[in-house]
Symmetry: D3
Subunit: 320 residues, 6 copies
């Protein structure tokens, strides 16, 4: 099991622990002597590592994205901590707890996913119901849907976070449609379930959360537009105008141009869905900031998604 | 009863109808001949009127904010339509339907207000409950609360509009607190009921909707801050920190500096209330724009609150 | 032939001319008498028209988007000019010159289109060449491509304007790739030819230039993304990464979020293409503003696309 | 007396000096061994400190906000300097010069305050004079008014800074009213004296300058609005409209929404006061930046309040 | 003398009055009949005029920028008022009061200018004194300086307005330098006197206030930069660094990039001068808006320079 | 020759290398012992250096902007690397390769400059041709033109960079004028050659690239305005309007107020030149970011000029 996290390393410390290989290469010193250079990571950050002697075996066996066991000394180099590796080997699967490398939801994912399927099944419009079902029934999508985070840093930034976010939105959409009878619940549920499907491939979350190259070139709105459009084309007799409406729900859900929506919402369901999505994301960001113990009794951690700290209301109100 | 609305007047038309006196003055022509100049209004707009002969009696009897009966001819003057008044007298109260001058909610105001009192009574925190009750029990506030519009043009811009908006928010707040257990329903209800109390005096809505001078100098956030703070001071033992929290809910509810909130929400309930308030207002603006028949089957009227037209979804989807 | 244009009508004038029917409906006067209300248009603007008597035959024969011959008198109504129609009939095709209703390029469209095909044929990458060919060879696309304007008002706002704009871009792209050898000409040409394909259906330009409902819900970037993506899927073995690159060129070509691009250019060709497209559009807008005689010898008309007037350099420099 | 300031500490140095306790807690090492963790501060910054042995007595006696005498060694930990404390005891009052912990004005505060009272006494409007007097005569307000800084970092960020700023504004207001006879000096003086009264409690400046929780929830504009409004209510017969004017002066003095003013100035005195306040603050920020010796002969320190460095004019002009 | 102002013309009125010729051209009717088209102006606005018969003599004698006497009838054409000219002749100089065409200061210009010379003479730095003197002593500059407005619409938009503005700034600069001893009065006075010298040629104010072509291409900052730089070069031994400082004062005086200053103030005198200039301009704009009787007792006219109306404080405070 | 670059220094390393003296001063330790403090630089960065013993000779001989040879040990001080100097002497000219201190173009500068002269000679307008020639023929300008970088960090930030940028612009201008016949090539070439002449003195690039004080006070647009205006005045009979046009090209070339252009382009050549300049600069910035090996195979270094990384297209497309 992992014993030392990168953010906790102290200079001149000897450690034995497990890391993810983020980068690997052979380099030469100025004198021409080769050495092994690695970038290692865990859920707390990344660190440079160098192995100067007897690294040939390691260099052959170890590759990017491998988990390894390392015995090393923490040194300062160019004023930043670095590992001088003495021994290294591939970790055995049973030695690795992926949670040391990637944070994950504490909820029961299987249960969340069956809730999702229930929401999907509750859609009454037959075309939308078939559309959503065809997406969720695709095994490769379903597998990713159960794992994907909702974002890299902004909100729900952990495995299963996207699913949590969508379930919350489906429930809130149901309440909203009950409160505002002018709203079509089927459209809200369709938007909730499909609006972030592009994130399944915009993000990469095998061993750490990052953006894929495709994600950086296109973004999840553009990516899911293609996925969902193809799925609509595959539903027999899917009405052309309804297809346009679903596409509008997807492309307008960020609500403003500067947040990457190429169109503003001009359907009531699109307007409302944007608010629900934004509220759920921001509240999750506040929740995450409040979950971090900063030592300041009345203040959360600083939330970069919100640009501020939140007040711990209970601490503030209980004061004399 | 009113037979001609200002927005419908045609040049060279003879009319007999009722109007509100917005301005009144005696002026002289270049030749030094005095005449009576009025600005008249109804719910569709305003128009200039002049009476050239035998206006002395009228000038004595008629004042700003009076309702009058007018017989006149529509003429063009400096390229704008104007009334040449032939006869005028004060209207009798039974001749006037205030709805011809000020639009009003179609809902049952007494029923809405009793719903409001029920929401207020459902608050469990004793201090907040007393605070809200003391405001709503003030007869002068209650009388205005039953009449006030929520805005001059942006949303719910009709008598009773504020009450409709608040009732909708209370209901939505209840659903939201059920959905997000971390939220304190008492704070959300308090915010919903008190967040626009300043509008009771920021706006003037006796015979038309406009801003008071005080409203333009201070705005409803600053105005209600004083009203509600005094009410909190009058509740025995109201906790100081809770008072600060209520004040924060009021001052932060516009959500951003550029919309006149001097502080951003840093309590979760303040963040969520801002979203609920904004969503309810914007959806009402979309609803109002869709209620206007523009002759374009698929498009609402242009909503200046939203900066765009909305799609009539039913018209769009029913198309072949 | 058309003898009177709407922007030239004077009050109290009797006219006989041809118009496009933009709207048609039967309405009732307050007294309950039915009449025919039309909105008529030509390339200079639109005007309301009413027919009070013997309109039944006309009402049956005439529909939206028909061209009609009208005998009428120009009157002022609610302070705006209006036609009182005396006689009306459907126009015969030979009586109508579409150019009276829609402005068009003065260039030879067939020649421009063959230039376009030459540029398309000059692409050396086999996948991109097939992609572009498959789009341009689609007869329904080609027919629209020869007619479409590049915009409703901003630039090249006339039939054939899009084609002119694209030809100019292709030529400029070729010069740019020669000047900057690091640029891939194939990608620039592909972007030039396909970047506005969505406008073929975002705009409607049968009898006047306006936005389609689909265009307003999705916009041309989203619309062409689907068209072009399907075309790439139909090219055998089209490389997945190349597809992503082409999609990036399309979605990033507006260069900034606030202009509706959901992603900023992060490929050099995308960056450069954005500049070429913007320059060509803005220069065309300046050219159009300068083409209007405003009576001010040194100044162009005000260009809303550019937010300013341009100087007539020749007039300014020739002065003593 | 203090011998070593935090910003001057070097690694591996042994020091004996005085510090303020900013945080205190008992923590456990991974091996479960408890130790004392402190955050210590002085006017130059803050530093972590740990005491590993025999800290029980210290832990009992020492609390947050105490001044202590420390004997320690400077070490690097996780790449940041840290104190390894060997001995610690509470400082005696006579050992502490508060100026080592909080910067203060070099002016004579008593004299400044009597100048303030003179300005207050010069107000001729009887209601405004009573209002200002009632605020300044409140002993708890007066005590804070003599100590408060004008800001945490932006300008006059030292004890007595607020008083200096207000005195400068009063004098400048007098000159301005003489120069622009249309301005009411009483209103300008009232604004000058009361516009930052909320800062007395928005900031906390006992042992360091920071924001209070109430300050972060409400801000000084909202806070002083309540203080001053109550004071106006307590002046017999204070005219209602004059109260509104004073409130407007307070809420509009930041001049723009984005700087936290919920209303823009719409009275000339409010407009002018905003300029005077802004000019005095920004000039003070430039003065402070120029007072720092940066080693660059022609440039001041970077002023974060102004977003730039200022030129040392004397150095620049004296050059050959 | 002028008897009818353009803004007061009524339809179907017969008038005899004096106007400025803004444009003149011969046009043809559709039937090929020539007529004379004029655009006429006075201080209240502009109007189209047409002369259908016997205009040949007029067309020969009358040119742009002439003052003419016109007998005409006011008619509506394309829904805008227009003059049908019956008789026209050149006005005699003694018939024209330029004040009917261009508003002017009510102050004594000769007295203002001698005040300006006194301020200039009070500069103690010999180089700056010579610089300012050389500018003010140039007869062609002095003549314009006595006439120029300070702006077309924003503030001091009348003949002599620039001089009023500069005198006010000089006086205010003197007070400011007395209040803030760190400021160099010589630099402030130099900035005050020279900062708008470019407006002498940026604006054209012979018969109406408008921008010159050069003014639109360069703007007054760039224009005065050349004038003042040449004047500095002509002062023997003017120190190079002092020249740079004066140039900085000129180019930075708008205070922000978006207002056309290519550099932000980084000298204290430049910072302060920007505030004084802005305050004096904005206060003048408020003063002008308050000077217009709008019929609303408590509100000024809308000031486009300030984007709002101002409160009439006296009216507001006097109310019961 | 230089053997160790500052960015490569490791703690506890002994080095012997050459550096530029950026700052020099004698300081005292707390104990009052004097020492020599230097700031040393090379093209990779800067570092503090201290010499504790026998520094008197060095202190006398060595001055700011000297190149020196240093024997020293790398130590950590206040957590930053620092040199403890053991020996130091002035470097001999032959020991220094300026390229170790300032990056430079790899192109043949003499050849580039003769290309520039050819472009200048190709201008056909005699006044513009003489203007450009008079600038380029000035030996002191020519010398700087051959050395100047185009910017400190944004693009072409190396010796000769400005020349490269201008040559590229001249070529691109020629292509653009061929493509858009409405453009005047002479104006484009004049703009290209003169638009950054102010950078010759805005930047200082003797031994490192930085801003001059004059550059910070005025900026290159203002600086070149004076240079070029004087040169136009010196060309006999240079037409006044043409001078204004050239000045407009210079002051508008940043295209927007917020980028320091006091006027927006209102001549077509000014509009187009702004695009060409911006495109060439941004593409150069992308090129520079792509030239840096970051270890990420698909991504360039982060470009602060562009606010993003660029994709390495070749790497991305070659992937399976």
């Amino acid at each position: 099991m992992k014993t030392a996290f990168i953010s906790d390393l102290n200079s001149e410390q000897n450690i034995t622990s497990f890391f993810l290989v983020c980068e690997k290469e052979i380099r030469n010193t100025r004198e021409g002597k080769p050495y092994l250079r690695l970038e290692l990571g865990d859920r707390s950050g990344t660190i440079e590592a160098r192995m100067w002697d007897q690294f040939e075996g390691a260099a052959k066996d170890i590759n990017r994205d491998d988990f390894i066991k390392v015995q090393a000394r923490v040194e300062l180099y160019r004023n930043r901590p670095q590992l001088a590796v003495m021994q290294v080997r591939l970790a055995k699967p049973e030695e690795i707890d992926i949670a040391d490398f990637l944070p994950a939801t504490k909820a029961d994912v299987a249960k969340l996913y069956s809730q999702l399927l229930e929401f999907a099944a509750s859609i009454s419009n037959p075309y939308l119901k078939k559309l959503v079902a065809s997406i969720l029934d695709d095994p490769s999508i379903a597998a990713k849907y159960k794992r994907a985070p909702a974002a890299k840093v902004m909100h729900h930034a952990y495995l299963g976070g996207l699913l949590e976010h969508v379930i919350s939105l489906c429930g809130f959409a149901k309440l909203s449609a009950a409160h505002y009878p002018e709203l079509d619940l089927d459209l809200l549920l369709t938007a909730a379930i499909l609006h972030d499907v592009g994130k399944l491939d915009e993000l990469c979350y095998d061993r750490s959360i990052s953006y894929t190259v495709e994600g950086q070139l296109l973004g999840h709105i553009v990516m899911e537009l293609e996925t969902v459009s193809k799925a609509m084309d595959a539903v027999p007799d899917f009405p052309a105008n309804l297809k346009t409406v679903v596409q509008h729900l997807l492309v307008s859900h960020h609500g403003q141009y500067e947040f990457g929506s190429p169109k503003l919402p001009i359907i009531r369901e699109a307007l409302v869905f944007h608010y629900l999505d934004d509220l759920d994301s921001k509240l999750a960001a506040a929740r995450a900031a409040l979950a971090i113990d900063t030592g300041e009794p009345e203040w959360s951690a600083y939330s970069s998604a919100l640009g501020r700290k939140f007040l711990r209301l209970d601490q503030f109100l209980k004061k004399p």
